[in-house]
Amino acid sequence: MNGPIRRTAIGLFTCLAMLLAGVTWYQVVRADELRDDPRNPRGVLSERGKQRGLIVSSDGVVLARSVEDPTDARNYVREYPQGEAFTHLVGYSSFLVGNGGLEAAYNNQLRSRRDLTISDLVSIFLGRDLRPNSVEATIDADLQQAAFDALGDNRGAVVALDPRSGAVLALVSKPSFDAEVLLGDDASIRWESLLADPSQPLRDRATKEIYAPGSTFKTIVTATSLDTGHAGLGTTFDDPVEFQLPGSSATIRNANERACNDGETATLLQAFVRSCNTIYADLTIQLGAADIGITAEALGFNQDIEFEWTIPRAVWETEQLAQDPAALGQSGIGERDVRATPLHMAMIAAAVANGGRVYTPYAVSQVFDADGGVVRRIEPDEMGRAMSEETALTLTQMMERVVTEGTGRLAAVPGVRVAGKTGTATGNGPFGNPWFIGFAPVDNPTIALAVFIEGTEASGESAGGGSVAAPIASDLFDVWLSR
């Protein structure tokens, strides 16, 4: 009888060995995957009450900090002392609704590595620092607040970049919300009511939404024209009151319903400064979808931009537009299916300011350890060249003329040479979406920005890029350059 018992024993111990293999599989091999599964709430739950690192602005203002919980000395609570102007960039760290913004993107740096387990002892023994790291954002707190205030009652976004590096100087989306409401036990209810709010305060209009760029897209068409040598500043075009789209009964008119110049001919410079749709539709069709696509893609269209989080792809449908000249004509003035985030449009202004070189935008410059030592320093990353230096220079002249004598006059700042381009894209119902992109000072640009307004009753039916967005840009140039 011992024979079969021995064989059964072998079978049973094989089963136990399978159990050992099973625990090893789940607790070693697949442990990280299971721990980080988005459906596993343990990670977020365990962060609750733990100390997190600081987020500070480039001018030393604290944007997020952990302080001791007054009701429970063992716990910490998160504070966002600068309020809602900073929420879309800084984000939130909520045990109920998760993390957002830089709080999410830099969670691995900001979170405490103190787990209160035996591994802490091992780590301390090995001399590892368990305290959370801190993060320095590239934004300037004054400019950020100024941008939020300048938007007034409007819905929209402002993105300001340092054209020399791609560093974000301000990144605002409005309306916003106070991140601290997401920290309490009622966070889920607050989240639901923010989701239900018709003004959509949770929506990050600056980096997570794509919009038709309107006439600001003419900068890309112009750059293509200059680069290919197809038409220069003085090249003249026919100047009709309306431009007949080929193969279509539709026409394109200018914003003021009149001819661009004298009804006979107009130069490219005049068309750009006055933002004439008729001539730009014509020019776009002459250039062709492919050549414009080359410039657009060099500026990051149709590809993922690795900002602190991946921003939605800007759209220029080269192949489709090559088949459809009518659609191409409309796309040349930033309508139809052309789309980009406000952050992306700021990148375009920055590229022109920077002699045609494009930088990947970034919002964190340094990571510090708890003693203030630098753990990581983020270096600017050049994506490539989008246009020749000469083209950028000519385009700059044209953009400066927009501000001195064209549609962007309200963007002017006394004593400063400002360059820019306005736009008013089709928006919701009777409302247009005003845009302004530009940079200053022209001879040595230190700021490039995009202002986007989502047309509502607050901006009004007559609102355009020149009347609503340009004054906001003027304010911000002034704040930045008079620091």
Partner: protein, 432 residues
């Protein structure tokens, strides 16, 4: 290992339980309270008492059985305390009761020998079947003993006298032992016939149809449990235990093969016919695809194990409360989250030690009945551990059975402590 070392190890294992409870207090920021001392006291008194009883009633028994059991009960208790302190308070009483019942069992066994059980086996069969049927008593009659359905399975009886004293019990946990004793007695008597009654058809040996009757009866009984009480675990456990014992007694792999085929057929038919078995199959095969319903429990168990990783979150610092039924079916995953791979490997090793000791007893027994009884008890223990831990680890479908010595629940603990008393007594008799 001498008796003194055994006693010291029992005290050490009791300290382990108390220390784990203290860590739970500490990590929750509570003051380390009377629970710690109480836990230590209860463990030392209950298992110390059992230890003393073993010294008197089965002095030659192996000293290797009690210490791992105290450690397993202690680890289980700390996790129950961490999940639900109120239930831990009840479980503490059950530890005392189970140890006391084990002492009583030793006293009764010491009046004769375990071999006397062989004579009572038909009585035990009737009692066991009666116990198994008890949960099918009506729930709504006036008699104080009522059947009870919990989570769709009918495996509880409740003693409800109308006074605040109310007691629930899972009779299958005791019936399990009675049936193993019956099987061992029956097989000891008939092993020769069962072994030799084979008909040769070419190279294949086929059992005589008449000799398959016990196998078919056991199978039918298991199917009845599955249908009437929807208790997949007990059904599978009893049948697997019986088939393994039949193989051990006869050495005929034909029984193993036939039993295996019957299990697969039964399981396939059950999965096809019964909704509750179907749901368990879905949960087993695709827990993450069905995360919102059937798969939730298994997925949470795996999240717990994965998050626990090597060293675990620490006592009281994980979130095993997120797993449904963490203190019963999923206590293994709960401990895996807080004590990590270190804890789960330790538990498997402790069970491996128990199983080796049990099989060693069987191996060295000279008396056929005792040999088969020790083997049968160990098989049932081993199969139960494999079914529930394997269920948590997705090696087999989850059957909803308790983890011996660790899960919350009095009847299981009492039943398993009686199982230990039987093994201890067999060990003593074989060394005498």
């Amino acid at each position: 290992m001498s008796r003194n070392v055994e006693g010291a190890t029992i005290v050490a294992a009791s300290l382990l339980a108390a220390f784990a409870v203290a860590l739970v207090n500490f990590s929750r920021g509570e003051t380390v309270d009377a629970q710690v001392g109480l836990t230590f006291l209860v463990f030392v008194l209950a298992f110390g008492g059992l230890f003393v009883a073993v010294n008197r009633l089965a002095p030659k028994a192996t000293p290797l059985l009690l210490p791992p059991i105290v450690a397993l009960v202690g680890l289980g208790f700390f996790q129950i305390y961490r999940l639900d302190p109120d239930r831990a308070g009840l479980q503490r009483w059950w530890v005392v009761i189970a140890a006391a019942v084990a002492v009583v069992a030793l006293v009764l066994l010491a009046r004769g020998t375990t071999s006397s059980l062989r004579r009572y086996r038909n009585l035990l069969l009737i009692v066991s079947v009666g116990l198994l049927l008890l949960p099918n008593l009506p729930t709504d009659w006036s008699f104080p003993l009522k059947g009870l359905e919990v989570n769709g399975s009918r495996l509880w009886i409740v003693l409800d006298t109308g006074t605040p004293f109310r007691m629930q019990f899972q009779p299958a946990e005791l019936a399990k032992l009675g049936l193993v004793i019956y099987f061992a007695g029956y097989l000891a008597d008939h092993q020769k016939a069962l072994r030799e009654a084979f008909r040769k058809i070419g190279p294949i040996r086929i059992p005589e149809p008449r000799q398959l009757i016990p196998l078919v009866l056991a199978w039918g009984g298991s199917i009845l449990i599955l249908v009437w009480q929807r208790d997949l675990g007990a059904s599978l456990l009893l049948f697997a235990g019986f088939v393994l014992l039949l193989y051990a007694a006869t050495g005929s792999s034909g029984y193993l093969l036939t039993g295996g085929l019957m299990t697969v057929t039964g399981a396939a038919a059950a999965a096809y016919l019964f909704d509750h078995v179907q749901r368990r199959m879905t949960a087993w095969l695709q827990p993450f695809e069905n995360y919102q319903d059937e798969g939730f429990q298994i997925a949470q168990g795996l999240f717990a194990l994965g998050t626990g990783s090597l060293s675990g979150a620490g006592p009281g610092l994980g979130r095993p409360d997120l797993i449904p039924n963490a203190e019963t079916d999923f206590i293994f995953a709960a401990i895996g989250e807080e004590l990590g791979l270190a804890g789960t490997v330790a538990i498997i090793a402790l069970f491996a030690l128990l199983i080796s000791v049990g099989l060693g007893l069987s191996f060295r027994s000279r008396d056929t009945f005792r040999k088969l009884l020790a083997a049968g008890l160990t098989f049932v223990l081993a199969v139960q551990v494999f079914l529930i831990v394997g269920g948590v680890l997705r090696i087999v479908p989850l059957t909803g059975i308790t983890l011996p010595f660790m899960s919350y629940g009095g009847s299981a603990l009492v039943g398993n402590m009686v199982l230990v008393a039987l093994l201890l007594r067999i060990s003593h008799e074989e060394s005498s």
